[in-house]
Amino acid sequence: MKHSTKIILNIALIACFGVFLFWAQGNLDGYKVQILNLIAVNTILALSLNLIYGYTGMFSLGHAGFMAIGAYVCAILILPAAQKEMMYILEPVIWPFSVMHAPFFAAVLAAGLVAALLGLLIALPVLRLGGDYLGIATLGFAEIIRIVFTNITPITNGALGLKGIPAYANLPWNFFWCILTIYVIVKLLSSNFGNCLRAIRDDEVAAKAMGINTFRCKAISFAVGAFFAGVGGALMGSLITTIDPKMFNFQLTFNILMIVVVGGLGSITGSVIGAVVITILLEWLRFVEYTVEIGSFVIPGVPGMRMVIFSLVLLLIILYRREGIIGGYEFSWDDLVKRVNARRGRK
């Protein structure tokens, strides 16, 4: 298929999707719109983790930390000064955080950049570590960030968190960032830089011998992943309008890891589908945790049941279907055409 045809098809696909979003905004109820929003944000987060772990082979458990940074940076930038003044009741907010203000786009961008910068800082000491040690070290960093955010009250409002964050993160914004993330990550991975990342994942020694500065490439991949994790965190904060340090615990990283593993490591299509499936399941399974009344019947909710089911799903996938639910399939127009033709041929 010609390159230009593919570009037209991509644009057409995005346009169709835009029409769908426009329709959804007007016709779906708030709850469903919220799920769509969460799908967009979770896709961003899953792709960023997949870049780091699935493509570069760095097992990172620090995603919640980058999200926390993104969420706080963005929230502090979009909260009006007067509101901040009122909210910080434990200790007054200090300058310059008291007066900082930026439009939403710039705030999200800044959130990503700060997270990326921190990602680089973290990368320097820990990227020398392999495999599981890297996972634990990044988990440690995420915990440190959380504890620090609980304690630097004049900046973060401590354990109380930030409330009433302007809800700018609507469908268009979330999906704009989501599509941007997909675009950037797909482009990076299909370029020769992507080959380098996969080479490092497959055999770091051979990659070094082939002249790849593995440390630099890993740091870049880590920082890009951290950038989009920060973006995801920023959107998440604005979407649910309330953040506090407790929210960014290991559970959050677990959810994203689950999307990536369920969708398939090293598969963009998998991460997108994983984000859709897991987000819907996460919401749909909420009912098991809440008390439901049907007529005179009362089914008591069971707190924790949702995560029991999810940890079982993760276990089953990792034990029996390690390549993910779609088996490592990667969508492309060429492949689609081939499949359609094959089906026609059979008829």
């Binding site: 040690y133 440690g140 440190i144 029991v308 034990l319």
Partner: protein, 297 residues
């Protein structure tokens, strides 16, 4: 700070440190053999507390029987976790087993949340152990003195087992080279199960003593001690039992003493361990007593 206070802090640190050490041994033994961070180990420790709690309250067992029940039940759980979630992944990439371990950890925590609710359970007091002893101005719980003694006895027993018995020899052999050991006719899976049983039993012992000292049991109580014990194991040099105990003690002292001397930092209490972890990994990834593992080119 006066010397009386210091002595109290000293014994508290000794107690906390030896509990970390006991849990750390489970991490270090499993990592030494399978190169797997048994993420669920902190939750195994938590189960130890619940088992003894139910032994005493629901089954009305005497204390010694409840403790024994807890140790046996926890060890059995440890073996089961290995059988179900880790053994099928022995040939898989190492990180797969780690993800599986994370899954098990969340499963155990949330299963307990479902079964026992998130409301902390009050552990009954064992009066003989928690009646304050007074020496001059120093006030100490008998438990604070008993915990380190019990811990050291357990570690001594484990070391004896490792260096003087056949299964111990097999364990040390597996940690050097699992394939060769298998070829030598050792039933590797059985020894690995034994390793999980011992690690879990020690975690149960720690869980019982922890519950006596901090008598509020909840499904997430194992998370932080678990992380810290893992860090202790890394600090001591992963794979080394003595190292794990020493790492646990150092971590316990650090935590108690920093908060005691710099009360302003108490909000950062849980961060110390993680900062320590990153420092060790940066400076000396093999820990205090660990052996160097190198990639072969």
């Amino acid at each position: 700070m006066n010397s009386d206070m210091f002595i109290q802090h000293f014994f508290n640190a000794l107690m906390l440190g030896s509990l970390y050490g006991l849990i750390a041994i489970g991490y270090t033994m499993v990592y030494g053999i399978l190169r797997l961070i048994n993420f669920a180990h902190g939750d195994i420790f938590m189960l130890g507390s619940y088992f003894v709690f139910f032994g005493v309250t629901a089954f009305h067992m005497p204390w010694w029987a409840a403790a024994l029940f807890s140790i046996v039940a926890t060890a059995a759980t440890g073996i089961m976790v290995d059988r179900v979630a880790y053994r099928p992944l022995r040939e898989a990439p190492r990180i797969s087993a780690l993800i599986s371990a994370i899954g098990v950890s969340f499963f155990i925590e949330n299963m307990c949340l479902v079964l026992f609710t998130g409301v902390p359970k009050p552990m009954p007091r064992l009066e003989a152990l928690v009646q304050v002893l007074q020496f001059g101005n120093i006030r100490i719980l008998p438990l604070t003195l008993i915990v380190p003694v019990v811990s050291f006895l357990l570690v001594a027993g484990l070391l004896w087992m490792l260096y003087r018995t056949k299964p111990g020899l097999a364990m040390r052999a597996i940690s050097k080279d699992i394939e060769t050991t298998r070829l030598m006719g050792v039933k590797v899976n059985r020894i690995i199960a034994l390793t999980f049983a011992i690690g879990s039993a020690l975690a149960a012992a720690a869980g019982i003593m922890w519950a006596l000292r901090y008598p509020q049991i909840n499904p997430f109580m194992g998370v932080m001690p678990g992380f810290k014990a893992f860090i202790a194991a890394v600090f001591g040099g992963i794979g080394s039992v003595q190292g794990a105990m020493i790492g646990g003690l150092i971590l316990g002292f650090m935590e108690i003493m920093i908060v005691a001397f710099f009360p302003a930092l108490s909000g950062y209490r849980d961060a110390f361990a993680f900062i320590l972890l990153i420092l060790i990994l940066f400076v000396k990834p093999t820990g205090l007593m660990g052996e160097k593992l190198e990639d072969k080119i």
